[in-house]
């Protein structure tokens, strides 16, 4: 038994959604005059895709068209408009460059401030490097964030956080 549902357009303009039966069944239904589509031997009644017929036709037509014809239309600019476009493009690029520079400068400053602070801890405070040790300590267990951390969802799991998580699990 086939279970694909397709839409058929009846002659009256009514769209019917119906379960297609094997050939014999559809013939009997045709005899009864319920569906006005003609049977042809060897015609595929089984449709693999779930697309509508209209969409399928478009897809078929597109597949035989050359790639060049499917390209979006090229913008045709006059010389004036080309230069105007270049101006806009350059302005945008320059703005981005300036922003990037500001960000990089800020990060450099932050890094340098951090470095000088650490230098102070190392040499300025005469505590035998205790504070520097605290400041530059790396955590041995890299368990700051649970590996199970997930994006908030409307249906969270029953056990939200596994506090006893270990790598061997």
């Amino acid at each position: 038994m086939l279970t694909n549902t397709i839409k058929l357009q009846s002659g009256l303009g009514l769209s019917l959604s119906q379960r297609i039966m094997p050939a014999s069944a559809s013939i009997s239904s045709m005899m009864a005059g319920t569906i006005s589509s003609q049977f042809t031997r060897g015609k595929r009644t089984k449709s693999k895709s779930t697309m509508s017929q209209g969409t399928q036709r478009v897809v078929g037509q597109l597949s035989v068209m050359s790639a060049a014809r499917k390209q979006p239309l090229r913008l045709k600019l006059t010389n004036e408009d080309l230069v105007r476009h270049q101006v806009v493009h350059n302005a945008w690029a320059m703005l981005q460059k300036q922003k990037r520079q500001v960000r990089e400068e800020k990060l450099t400053k932050q890094f340098e401030a951090m470095q000088s602070a650490m230098e102070d801890l190392k040499h300025g405070v005469e505590d035998g490097g205790v504070l520097f040790g605290f400041g530059s300590k790396f955590e041995k267990t890299k368990k700051r964030v649970s590996l199970e951390l997930r994006v908030p969802t409307e249906y969270p799991p029953n056990q939200v956080w596994n506090h006893k998580y270990s790598k061997s699990d």
């Binding site: 010389n79 004036e80 230069v83 105007r84 270049q86 101006v87 806009v88």
Partner: protein, 401 residues
């Protein structure tokens, strides 16, 4: 965000309402409702900015045609259509890309403000140069200044339009920005590549000089009764009639990093790399034309014969190839004189067997420009020989053995 950037970087403090939306509409080519609404707020270009001031800037940076200039700065009038399209139907059909007219003033004003800052930096550097005594530092500053002048003008739509769409022969190459455009687009983008290909393939390198990176464009044109008005393409085979009288040269100095000084002198040589020598069963280099102490101040300058005749140390001898000898290569070299003017009496050379490499090292000459043409025997060689009172040429056997 943008305003905060402006404050911290002391860049021109321009407020660009909804600029992100504008740019994205232009780049993506999709008109969003939000963008088209907010565009009505600010949409005029600043016509009192640096790019509209021509008291200090050259007039060549301006587009002369008022209609074209208006279209470039204020957009195309849909009622009249673009000036650059000729057909009435095309004019009528044309529409500018969506959103371009709205976003252009913002972009223009933004770039103009950065240009203004560049110009203020230029004045700063100029005062530094005036105070500086160290030559090395001075040249460094000069280099920086030139770059700033180019950066200030290269995004100016009027300049960009002229550089891209006008005849390169009419560009004012004394303006650094046009020099920059000509160098990148016309010279390095095409002419230099062609020239290098030809001189490599014709083995001008290394037969004439070991190598060269031309910083000056050297163009050669022959003026004779035929009236042909064309600079030769490197490697052209020219008839003996075409080359029977000395050529004129055009030079474009395109070394932006090192400006041309009035004291700079150049030597111009035309040499034949393929003069047969039956004694050694090989070839000699002959000197066909030699001019020293050539100077030029402006670009696109034509060095005519009359100007060159003052520094001429070897009169022009036309190519007169001999029958059945292979095609001869005539190389024109523009050489920079490292040590100022050359003294004629010190010049030591033999025209018939010209030691080119020795001549260059002895006189401290550095090749900066090059061009080449080829000549072979034709029916007119006899007449050219008669013109110059030269003896009859040798005739070689047709078959090489």
């Amino acid at each position: 965000m943008i305003t905060s950037v402006a404050k911290s970087r002391s860049i021109p403090n321009v407020v660009i309402p909804g600029s992100r939306a504008f740019f994205s509409t232009v780049v993506g080519g999709v008109r969003s409702q939000e963008a088209s609404q907010s565009s009505t707020a600010s949409s005029t270009i600043n016509e009192e900015g640096v790019w509209s001031q021509f008291d200090k800037r050259s007039e060549s940076l301006k587009i002369k045609n008022p209609i074209l200039r208006n279209e470039l700065l204020h957009g195309i009038d849909p009622a009249k259509g673009p000036l650059t399209l000729k057909k009435g139907l095309s004019k009528m059909k044309y529409t500018s890309p969506t959103g371009l007219d709205e976003v252009f003033p913002l972009a223009y004003n933004f770039l103009q403000e950065t240009a203004k800052e560049k110009y203020s930096q230029v004045t700063e550097i100029e005062s530094q140069i005036a105070a500086e005594t160290d030559e090395a530092v001075k040249t460094q500053l000069l280099k920086k200044k030139n770059q700033l002048i180019i950066d200030a003008e290269k995004f100016n739509p009027e300049v960009a339009y002229k550089a891209q769409f006008s005849n390169p022969e009419n560009l004012n190459l004394d303006e650094l920005v046009y020099q920059y455009y000509y160098k990148t687009k016309n010279f390095e983008g095409f002419n230099k590549m062609l020239l290098m290909q030809r001189i490599e393939q014709l083995h001008v390198l290394p037969d004439a000089i070991p190598t060269i990176n031309p910083s000056v464009e050297l163009k050669v044109k022959f003026i004779n009764e035929s009236g042909v008005n064309k600079y030769i393409t490197p490697g052209d085979i020219l008839s003996s009639r075409a080359t029977s009288k000395p050529p004129i040269f055009q030079v474009n100095y395109l070394n932006i990093d090192e400006a041309l000084k009035p004291s700079d002198k150049f030597t111009l040589l035309v040499v034949n790399l393929d003069h047969p020598n039956t004694k050694t069963n090989s070839y000699d280099i002959t000197l066909n034309y030699g001019v020293k102490d050539v100077s030029f101040q402006h670009n696109n300058q034509v060095l005519s014969f009359d100007e060159l005749s003052q520094g001429e140390f070897a009169e022009y001898l036309p190519p007169v190839p001999e029958k059945n000898s292979p095609t001869s290569r005539f190389v024109t070299l523009l050489l920079k004189q490292e040590e100022g003017p050359l003294a004629t009496e010190k010049l030591n050379f033999n025209r018939k067997d010209f030691a080119l490499a020795d001549f260059l090292t002895e006189n401290k000459l550095v090749p900066v420009g090059i061009n080449v043409w080829r000549s072979k025997w034709d029916g007119n060689v006899k007449n050219v020989r008669e013109m110059y009172g030269l003896p009859n040429g040798r005739v070689f056997h047709r078959v090489r053995r």
